[in-house]
Structure formats: structure tokens, C-alpha cells
Amino acid sequence: MSDSHPIIPGSGITGASDAYNIEGRETPETRPLIPLGQRYYAEEKPRMGFFTDTTVCIGCKACEVACKEWNNVPDVIGELTGQSYDNTSSLGANTWRHVAFIEQRKPIKMQQEAGLMTPGSEEDGEFRWLMSSDVCKHCTEAPCLDVCPTGSLFRTEFGTVVVQEDICNGCGYCVPACPFGVLDRRQEDGRVWKCTLCYDRQKDGLEPACAQACPTDSIQFGPLDELREKANGRLEMLHEAGVDDARLYGANEEEYGMGAFFLLLDDPEVYGLPPDPEVVTRKFKSLWGAAAVAAGALVAGVAAAFAGGAR
């Protein structure tokens, strides 16, 4: 296995990236081996991820654009939805970053107290605009990865979850397996596509395109444990400032571990996120146990059918 690639830019890593989507190339970099029975790579590499702090998102969609540019994601132009500034609607095969816009009749306490707002009337002041850049969560236990029958989805040395496009045969199993509705099949292409957390850039020690393009650092990239620490600090700061709405989503490994987690200002479902996601594939016993019972019942049924005579 090759040397570990430092994440700091300019660390002297040369050569073009061969992370994915290049047919016919197979190098130790693209296919590092995970020893059997082990979830992660043996080498000590920090798990990398995103912390999306929606409190500072300004809805500029630079992340959406940078992602499309870098990853060559088809620029499917949708229609105007009339749902605030959101015209991409949801994550999908052709949208790997999606900025949600939520308009609410709710006062922005801090600004009002500080006299930063000059509402014309009581009613006009009752408005806040939530924006949040959604992305693949790169789950600690990813259902999409578990159910993929070809091994196309795999866990990288950075702890992220990536689709190998030269393997995917478009069976579509990962699509309903994902609790966040992230994966989708590209109609004209037949394969499934999603955020790679810029695997190719990470290999060259660069941060993902969306994080680099984000002008307010709403999207932060780095080793996950550092990000979590940062996020907890930020949450504390907000609570002290009186922003009681603030809560972290996906930062707690004991609930549902996400490699990309969020600081939100309302319930997750308001942003289109599931309030209590579940690693469905962890229910191995109850899933197959029920099938074993059913198979037993089938045997009993056939036997019973002959109990009344062979003819």
C-alpha cells in the first residue's frame, strides 16, 4: 500500500487522480485492500467528513455549482418550483449538493434585540429564512453499501462511501435503502450516482470542491473528530447567544453516525431530513429469521398437502 496522503494542500503529492470513473485503470490507490472482517483500512487515517453549519449559510449555491463543475455532473435544468429559491428540489443522481430554502414566520431574536432589523410593522419582522446545503451523509454504517450486490459501493481509506462507476450495474437496490434519499439512478446512463466527498481531490490532499467554494465556511471539511469538537463549540456559543433552536444533526455516533453532519435551526424534517434515521441493514436477525420461519412454514405446507394422500 502506498504512503498515506496528507490532507494539507501542497504536500508534494503528484500525479493525476484516478479515484473513479476512469475505465480500465486499476492501481493500488484505487483498490486498497481491507482485511476480511475489518470495517476500516488498517492504516491510521483520520475519518474525513463535512460539518455543514446552516446558521451561516447564505444560500448562494456556490457549493452546488462547484460540485457540478468539478465532478462533471450533468447540468439538468429543472423548472422554477416556486418554493423559495430552491429549484433543484432534492439530492439525486445529478445533484450532489442541494441547498434548501425555508421561509418561516418566526422572529430572528438576536438581530431584533441588537436593533439590526428595522421592521416596518410587527408582522414584517416575523420572518426568518433558513438555508441549508444538504449532501450525502457518508454514514458510519451505510445501508447503501451493505445492500449493494456488486461491491460497487465501497468504503474509502478516508472513511467515506463511494460508488465505483465501472462496477455499478444499476440494480437500484441502494436507492430505497438510503434513509436520506441521496442515491438515484441517472435515467440516460442507468447507473447510480452520488457525492464522492471528492475522493479524487482528497487523494491529492485537496478539500472537496463544495467546501472550497463555500464563501461563509458554512461547509467545513476535515477530520471528523475535529469537526465534531468544533460543532459542539459552535452549538454552545449559539445557545449562550440565545439561539435556542440550534441543534446538531448526525453528530452523535451513538444515534446514527454520519460522516457529514449538520447544525440546524429547526426539526430535521423541516429541511427534508429524516428525524430518526435507522441503519435498516443492522436488523439482520429479524430479517432473515422471519424468512427462515416462512421457509419452515412452506415445508410444513407441502408436507401437509401430501398428508392427505399421494394422489
Binding site: C148, G170, F180, R185, G190, D276, A297, A310
Partner: protein, 332 residues
């Protein structure tokens, strides 16, 4: 590590909004407007699977349950019934891969399924089971037609039976192993629905193609399977509860389910009353039972789409789960 989600402050909970839980945690009919969402958009993606998949659930079940029927008939010395069942198994095994491959986004890459054996993926295991089953069922039918290797034939039948049992049930595990609420939460009963439907189809198919004097066990299997299928479906809906059973009762899924129940019930009645005397009645009853089993799979298939499409099924059931977990934490 603390998580802001546990902060109790201004989160608007279902109970605060007007109460969807009563004191004992029982779910009341859901006030839809109280389930919050992002412009009513789904949280999950609807599956991309097309018409091939429910038909495969049907043909795979038919093939899988035909194998034990063939083996039992062979062991019992009912050669004509054994032959019909062998061909049922072979027929289902021949159609199934065609359906599965044509549903792939890249059918040409079907063989990528065979580059790994992945225990965590029901689809991976199922592909291997179906591939091996096809071989065994094919050999059993071939040795029968050519009239050669009677001992080997029984061996192939045994192998086909061992593989047929998972073949008839794994598809239920496959759909239950997703985030789709009406599939995942039905994981305890879906295999029973599929297995009884498989038994009904295998029995009906064999009864149709066997002279009535030799078809009694197949008729019994068809009737028993059809009745069990109706019962298992009701049990599944009961266990899901009023809220999550709803997708099985509305729109396309609801229509298919009513058809399935009617056809399975009527087919079982016809076969019970007249199957012994009339081949025509057996064929008619058998066709109804087969159609009932197919419609039942279509109902399950469609219900999954319907529940994925509407965020309330995802959001509300997860909210309920959160509430009961937090209540348990507060009490304990």
C-alpha cells in the same frame, strides 16, 4: 458527546401540536397537517424498480415452491405430479433471470453480480441462490425428460428444494431490508406473505398441468396457500398498525390487494368445491389463485412506492419512535 437534538426547548413536537399520541403511546389517526416536511417532498427516494420486479417476485416464488412440491411428489411416488412441479420450477427459473436482468440500469453488466458474495446484501445472496437453483431445477427437469439418471434426478430435486425455500422467501427480505417504512416495518410478516403466495402459485400451477386424479396434493397446497396468503396479508397489516397499513389500502396498492384477496379467495373456493371433479374448474380456480398471488406481490410493490413518496410515513413513524425512546429514557 452532547447532541443538540435532545434539547427540549422550542421544538414543535407532534404531541404539543395537538396530540397524536395518547397516554399509553397508542397511535391515533394521524393529523396529516401536523407532520412537518420540506414542501411536502419525500424524504426517501422512490425505488427505481420497474414492472419486472413484482413479476419476478411471483415467478421466483412459483419456482421456489415448486421444487419442494416436486421432491415430495417424487418421494410419494406421484410421478405425474412430480413432473408438473418440476416444469413449474424450471419455467419460473427460466423467466426469473430474464426479468431481473432487464430491470438493471446496465443489463450488460449483470455479471458484476457474480464478482462478490455479500452476506449483507439480500440481492447478492438471492442472485447466487437463483443461479444455483436454475441449474438444479434444469438438471432435474432434463433428466426427467430424457428418462435418465433417476437417482441423480432425486439429488437435483433435493438441491433445488434446499435452494427453493430461500428463493421463495428472500425477496421479502430484500424489500424489507430498505428504508421504505411499509416494507421495513413489515419485515416479520412479509416473508410469510411471500411464502404462502409461493405455495399457492406452485400448487395451482401444478394442479393445472396434472390430470385431476393425480393432482390432489397440488390442489390442497394451492387452496391452503391461497387462504394462508390472505391471512398473512391481514396479519401484516394488523401488525403494521392503522397508520402504516394505509399505503396497502389506498391507490394502486389498495386496488391490487382487493383483487388479490378476491381472486385468491374465489380460486380457493372453486378448487375446493369442484377441483376434484372437473379439470376445467381446476384450471379456472388455479388461474385465479395464480393471478391472486401475482396481484398480492404487485400490491406490496406499489405500497412501498406510495409510502416512500409521502414524507408523512417516514417522518411520523420516526417521530413516534423518537418519542417512545425519549419517554423510555426519561422513565428509566
Amino acid at each position: 458527546m452532547s447532541d443538540g437534538r435532545r434539547e427540549p426547548q422550542p421544538q414543535i413536537s407532534m404531541t404539543q401540536q395537538g396530540g397524536s399520541l395518547d397516554g399509553r403511546g397508542e397511535v391515533r389517526p394521524v393529523p396529516e397537517e401536523q407532520v412537518r416536511s420540506y414542501y411536502g417532498r419525500p424524504v426517501l427516494k422512490e425505488p427505481v424498480w420497474t414492472w419486472e420486479i413484482p413479476w419476478y417476485f411471483f415467478t421466483g416464488g412459483l419456482a421456489g415452491a415448486s421444487a419442494p412440491l416436486a421432491l415430495a411428489a417424487d418421494l410419494a411416488g406421484n410421478e405425474r405430479l412430480a413432473r408438473s412441479a418440476r416444469f413449474g420450477a424450471l419455467g419460473g427459473a427460466m423467466v426469473s433471470p430474464v426479468l431481473l436482468i432487464s430491470d438493471l440500469g446496465r443489463p450488460g453488466r449483470f455479471f458484476n453480480m457474480l464478482r462478490v458474495i455479500k452476506p449483507t446484501s439480500p440481492m447478492s445472496l438471492g442472485t447466487w441462490v437463483l443461479s444455483a437453483f436454475s441449474g438444479a431445477a434444469g438438471l432435474a427437469a432434463t433428466t426427467d425428460v430424457l428418462g435418465i439418471f433417476p437417482h441423480a434426478r432425486r439429488f437435483f430435486e433435493g438441491v433445488a428444494t434446499l435452494l427453493g425455500l430461500p428463493l421463495a422467501t428472500y425477496t421479502a427480505v430484500l424489500v424489507a431490508d430498505t428504508s421504505v417504512p411499509v416494507w421495513h416495518e413489515a419485515r416479520g410478516e412479509l416473508p410469510l406473505v411471500f411464502a404462502s403466495g409461493a405455495a399457492a402459485s406452485a400448487g395451482a400451477c401444478a394442479a393445472i398441468f396434472t390430470p385431476i386424479e393425480d393432482a390432489a396434493p397440488a390442489r390442497r397446497l394451492a387452496i391452503g396457500g391461497a387462504v394462508a396468503e390472505i391471512g398473512a396479508t391481514e396479519l401484516m397489516k394488523h401488525r403494521l398498525g392503522k397508520f402504516l397499513a394505509e399505503p396497502y389500502e389506498k391507490e394502486a396498492a389498495g386496488r391490487y390487494e382487493k383483487l388479490a384477496t378476491a381472486l385468491s379467495g374465489a380460486g380457493a373456493a372453486v378448487m375446493t368445491l369442484a377441483g376434484r371433479k372437473s379439470r376445467a374448474a381446476t384450471v379456472a380456480g388455479g388461474a385465479m389463485i395464480l393471478a391472486g398471488a401475482a396481484f398480492e406481490r404487485w400490491s406490496v410493490f406499489k405500497a412501498g412506492f406510495q409510502s416512500a413518496r409521502d414524507p408523512k410515513y417516514t417522518v411520523f413513524s420516526q417521530r413516534e419512535r423518537l418519542h417512545s425512546r425519549h419517554r423510555a429514557e426519561d422513565e428509566g
